[in-house]
Structures are given as structure tokens and as C-alpha cells.
Amino acid sequence: MLALSTSELDRISALIGREPTLVELYAFDAGWSEHCSYKSSRAHLRRLPTEGAAVLLGVGEDAGVLDLGEVDGVRYGVVVAHESHNHPSQVVPYEGAATGIGGIVRDVLCMGGTLIGLLDPLRFGRGDLEGYPHQRYVAQSVVDGISGYGNAIGVPNLGGDLYWDESFDDNCLVNVVALGLVRADEIVHSRVPAHADGWNLVLVGKATDASGFGGAAFSSLTLDEEQAEANKGAVQVPDPFLKSVLMRATYRVLRELRALGVRDPGFKDLGAGGVLGCSAELVAAGDMGAEIDLDAVHVSVEELPAEVIATGETQERMLWAVPAGAATQALLRVYNEQFGLPHVSRGARAAVIGRVRADKRYVMRRHGTVVVDVPVDVLTSGIRYEREVGVAPNHESADPVLRGEVAALLPRVLAHRDVCSREPLITHYDRVVRGTTVIPAGHGDAGVIAPIPGSALGVAVSVDGNPRYGKLNARVAGELAVCESVRNVAAVGGEAIGLTDCLNFGDPTKPAQMGELVEAIEGIGEAARALSLPYVSGNVSLYNESASGSSVAPSPIIACVGRVTDISHSAGFAFKRPDSAIVLLGARGGALGGSVIVEICAGQGGTLPRVNFDALRGELSALRAGFDDLTVRGAHDVSDGGLLACVAEMCIGPGGRNGIGARLDAPSGWAPEVPELAAWFGETGGFVVEVAAESAAAFVERARATGAYAACIGRTLPEPSLVAGATTFALADLASAWLTPLEALYA
């Protein structure tokens, strides 16, 4: 099954001056897929900011690297990768989600990084799963797949988020973010160096089989129920056990190569396009060519067709370019003899499958016959489309007037599927393996780890994107996703240093949907520029549309990585002490579009909150100063469910038994311009900050001096109740509303 169009077939013939061979056809099929070539999006992605002081390695390789800082004279980088595995997860949820982790782990590994964390933003079909057995199966199996793979390889889960919407009924979104740690002087590149002529290309990992054949092209097709069965063959088979051993063997190979003085090996993950796609990109990136002998590729079944060995996307494989002689010998020894890959997984090993050549031709042989012979750049340059960019629909409308009683609404808001505790889901994931976790997923707005033993230098990370906003206005949703991820990192005491994006959209051949993609790119670019943050990696996932023509909610999903200078200053969101001051940073607004409260009270309608970046920068710097001098005891960003849900969560705490209450003044005192229910439940961004009472006045004053809105709106209480103006809640009731909704699915 080829996905290439007839006109694309003609272009290939014109490009190489003859009819392509079958292997070449499959190579172009993968290489020119949307998944690999970004043929619709590349021109637009250029407008994203990608440079900055904290960038050690920018966009363009398997993953980007951000500057974490120096410890004992050694500079460390955080490797960041962000991918989607949406289509496979919809068709075969367990394997799709698991291989999503498998693939991104290799991206980090190939930069020379040690894996230090994973995050999983998930978007599933409608919240009420009664009568939707497949959607329920997807929502459960995806989590099982992530847990089955991530736990086994021993990489802690640091966060993620979860939204439910019927636009994901036929197309779940399963994104994954992976972080690695690498010394700045030991970054490995996804390219061969200039002196690599004659170097060996060594394929390591699982024996190639027929699984994952046509995967890249499949990922770029619209899902059709009737083809789902046929598409299953395009999904790879996960093997976390092999990966666990491969990771450890690779760490050792990296050390041995350095000991041998090989400073610049090429190392690249086999993803889309298999052996051919990976080897062509690895050598082309260094202006070289390659010669590959398909007979040398280790296979699990004899007599696989050449095109399957060449382009099949069997999991758990990577490609090295290393000098012949000692380096190649070391590599083969570590993988095959020491770590014994052949004993770990049948047929797995490291094998020399070809060599680098200087003349920039790409030649592949099977049984002595040439099956590919083209200039390497025709394989890697891809194609571009000037898609027609239509007007992105704006579904914002006048903000509705909300009616209801706070007493009845807060429990409903807390129990909403997009607000409630994710603990029943997160407990499936290992959050603390590696022994580096400071703030586990679910305990703070961002996860925090101290990845360098003996050092207080930490990494904070969060991933965000609200599809309810995406449905209204893709551009503003993009801005808000960036702001929320940055706020989340700030709320644990981190300083944002860089971003990644995964853009999940519908069919780019439809002008309106292409328009949404372009608008979202504008939005995430504008917010990043306003906050002086670079993008160091990203991913685009298109055709997230079912055959019936319904597209997913436009979903720009943003991960923010932050530096925590001293982990002993960081804090989770739960209230720490009674009698603290509760300070609101960020003015309340009347915009209610996409909020949970509108869904509960009015069904729909509303505008999205616009970000005042000057004020946001002020909030961030005030919070930062408060973490530095320890006057801030904890913070929580105002997002899904609004301010009152935010404060309730701080009272309840991640496990439900924090038991510190709060008394909040009526909003007429601190948000007189805004209707009461909008003040309590509106989702205009901001922070609720717990500040030592004696420092509160100074904190508020300092925040105001930055141009931010700041007000003391209440205090924490020793007794387990939440008093919101005239309404009093027992924390036990709020805790049960918040903690239990996901239990039915995940307990």
C-alpha cells in the first residue's frame, strides 16, 4: 500500500531520470510522507524562534539540547524531544502508545543522553464513555501501554495532561515528551563528520521483521475504519526488555568510544523510513553518501522482500557511523558479547551493514543487485507543498452570563473530567525510578527532578495544551498553551529556558484546517518571542481526522523545560502551613470561552482570555523572587476550573489528605469589575501563591512594582474547610469530588 500520489510518482521519475525501482518507490513513499517531510508545515515552522542563550543544540537533529548549567566545572545539557504517536495508538492502543515511548527514547539516546524523564499528554474521546466501548478501550490501553513500556525501561514519568472531547473519538492524541541529560562536551550528533569517508555503518537492535512496514506513510493517512485492520501491520511491536538492555549497552558504548578518542560518531534513531531513511539522513546531514548491503541487515525471517528490509519500521533499532577498526570492534563487542543482545531478543545484535562514501551517492544492494542508486539528497530533501491557507474559523462568541450557586458548582467543577485528579491514572506510572524525583507528577504544576547526583541543580518540566481553547481559536489556544506551560514551570520554582511543540491538526489539504495550523504556529511563536524562549524540537501530526471528515480539536501541545537553581527552594502546589497569606497574581477577566464553568452552566459560548505579556513577565519575576527568598511557600497556576478549583486543590493536596483549609474574601473586594462566578471559575491565567503572612505585603508590593496584578485574597486555615466568600465547603466533600472521577476507568 503506497501513499504516494500519481503526481508525486511523476516527480520522482523526473528527479532521478528514470523509472524508480520498487525499493526506491517505498523510500520516497516514506521520505515524502507528511510524517517525515513536513511538506505542508515546514515553511510556516520557520517562523518559530529557535535561538537563545540557553540553546546548546537547536532544531534539526534527533532532539534539541538546552543549557541546564554548570556543576563542578562541567556544563550539562537537557536533551528534549517531543513526538506524537496518534494514529498507531488509535488503531492498536497498547502497542501504539508503547512504541511512541520506544521511539522517543531512542531520539534522546542518539544525542548521547541518559534518559531522565518522560511526560505523556493524552487526549481521548468523549468524557462519558458509556456506549463507547472502543473509546474506553483506547483510554485504558494507552495508559497500560505507556506504563508497560516506561516502567520497564526505568525512566520516571514526570507529568502529562489529560483532556476528553468527542473530537478525539476517532483520533486519540498520544504525545510523548522525553528528557535526557548530557554533558555539553559529549553531545552526539545525528550526522557523520566531514572525515567519515569509509567509516562503518553499524545497525544495532532488534532483527528486522515485517512489522511497521509503511508506518510513516500510514501516519499521514486519514483513519478509515474499514482499513483499520489492514493498518495494524503498519504499527510496530514494542520490546521494552530489549530497550532496557540496549540503553545500558549504549551508555557503555558511548563511554568506550570516548575512551578511544572517537568524539564525533554519527548516531541516529531508526524511525520513519527504516534502514534507508535513517542511513540516508545520517550521511546526507554530513554531506556524504552511503553504500548499504541489505544482505548484512539482521532479519528475523528469511526472504523478506528488499523493500521491507530497506524501509520497514521495526522498533528498537539505531544506526551508528564509526571508524573501522577499534571503534567498530568495541561497538560489536559491547552489544553482541557483553550485553549479549542475541540472547535478549531473538536475532537482535549489532551488525556492520555498510559504509560511508564521500561521493554523496546512495547505493543499496540486495543479493549483489543494485536496488537503489541515487544522489543521496533526492532521498532526504523531501518535497514541499504550498498548501492553500484558508481563514481559520473563529468560534468565539459573546461571553455568556453565568447563573448558579457557588456551593453547587464547585464540586461539579472539581469532578469535571478535565479538572479532576489524575492520580488514579498516574499511579500506573513509575514516577520515582532513578531516585532523582523531587516533585513527582501530580504533586506540583510541573515535575521536578535533580538529575545530577550530589547536586541541587534541578529540572522542572510541564506539558500543556487545552483542546477546548483550540476549538474556539487556534491562534489564541497556541498562545495560551505556551503561557500555561511556562506558568507551570514557574509555579514549582523553576525558570523556563526552552520549549518544544507538537502540533496535532486535521487535514492540511483543507484550507480552513491548514489555516488553523498556520494560526496556531503564529500563536505559539508570538508567545515564545514575548517570553524570550526558543523552540529546540518539535513535531507535527496532521490528518488527525476520521474518514467521516471530522477533525480533532486544533491541538498545539507545548512542553516547557525549566531550570531549578536549587531544589531546596522548589515546592509543590499543596498548602504548607495554616495562617499563610493567599495571594492572587494575575487579574481576573470576564473571558469565559472554553472554560469548564461554561460547559457546566451554559453549554457553550465565550471569548478566550487574551494574554497581557507585560503583566505575565511581571508575575513570573515576582514569583521567582519569592521562591529565591523563600517567602513563597508554594504556588498553583489558575487554569482548568478557575481560581476556586485551584485553591481547593491546594487545600486538598495531591493525595487528598493535606487538610489545610482556606478562607477567601468575596471577589467584590479583589475583582470588582468581574461577575462573581467568572471571578471564581473563569480561566484567565494567573497564580494562587501561598506566602508567609509576615511577608505578604512586601510580596504584593514587589509584584505590583513589576506591573503585575497582585492582591492578598485570603489566608490558609488550620481546620479542613474552604470558605469562599459566604460559602463554606468541607474539604472531605471537595476531595471526594476531585479524587474519584477517574477511578472507574483506571482503578
Binding site: 516502567n151 524525583t437 515546592a571
Partner: protein, 251 residues
Amino acid sequence: MKTAVIVFPGSNSEEETLRAAQAAGADARLVWWFEGRAALKGFEAFILPGGFAHEDRIRAGAVAARDPIVSAVIDAAQHGAPVLGICNGAQILVETGLVPGTGEAGRPQAALAPNIQGHYLDHFAEIELAVSPERCIFTRHLAAGARIPAWASHGEGRFRFRDERTRERVREERLVVFTYVGGAPNGAEFDCAALTNPTGNVLAVMPHPERAGWRYQQPERVRFEARGDRAAYLAPYGGSHLFSLFAQVLA
């Protein structure tokens, strides 16, 4: 006494377990499965770390228990060597029959069954000394009823015993050294969190003390007490106690 932290194919907690042992003063190093049984010569104490050794095929720990490198640990344990198994390491020790050690050698008398929830569980858990401190060589210096913080992170943590006779011996010989405070989250018999053998030199503990072994890993409230104190955050704390007790045995 030299301590070996043994790495199996599929182990995933070896680094932090080694760090915790070293921080407690143990002279420890990693020994990889491919170094073979001979590499354990000269080691007098052993730690089996967490993970998914040999992919947990058949049952968690079942294949690793028959790994040639483990035969050396079994021999040493039978001669009184201190052996600590954590999580998957505990599962392996149970599969060797070393704990509860009430049957013939090599025949498992217990197993770690899937959690009653049917899935993996990851959460903070405190464990409590449930026997007199002399019962096990690792707990000799603990106060009666002492509590140690840990993280339970496992899919198969439910201690079950072969038959009523075994259960009776486990009870009579006081082999359940630690129980979970507040009851076993996974449905383990006797609320068992850690099991020893009749001679008290082998300890199989399911929750991970090395994941609550430094101040920075503690629950928010405990962390907060030392807020801003960088050295305190990075210092061993809580679960590290178990490693100190281990190191004291070796001294």
C-alpha cells in the same frame, strides 16, 4: 565487607541502589550478569535491585532466580552472607526459595502475585518494623516499631504463601519483618512489606527505600521542614536507614 549490587538484563534501579548503599558507607559496586558467577568472588554481601529482570517472564523473578550468577548468591546466603533484595530483587529472592526459606532449597514457598487492583501501583508508603529488632540482622539496631519511608512501585507486590503450613511457619517464626503502615496497598498477606528467612540474614523488601533515601525525595511536608537548606536536601534521610543498617552488618 565488599557488597555486590547485581544487575540483571532488565534491572532498572541499579544506579540509585548503588548510590544509596555507598552513601550509607558500604563498599559496593555494580556486578553485571555477563561478568558471570566468578565475578562475585571476593564479595561477601549482596543487593538485588529493582526492575524487570529477564522481562519478568513466567513470573516476576522466576527466570532470574535461575540465572547462574544467582546460584553464587544462594550459596553465600546459605552460609550466612547478608542479602538484601528490593522490589524485583525481593521477587527474585522469593523465587529462589531463600525467603521465607521454610521449604527445601530451590523450591519457592511464596510468590509475589499481581496487586489486587490488577495493575501497577506507584505511591509513597511507610513500612513499620513488625517483629523484635533481633529477628533479622538488618534490623538489630532499629527501635521496636520503627518506621521507614519508601515508595511502593510495582505490579506484582502481593506476598502470598504456598500453603497453610508455610503461612503458619511464617507467623510462628516471625518472618514478616516489615508491614505497611495503614495496611498493604496491594493485598499482601499479613500486610507483608518485607520478608526474611529463619536465620535472618536475607531480607526481601517490596517497596523501594532508595526512592525515599534522601531528603529531597521525601513527601512535601518532610521536605518543607528543611526548605532552603541545600545540604540537608541532598543528605541521606528516611529510607537510607535501611542501607545504614545493612552497612552496619558489614562493619
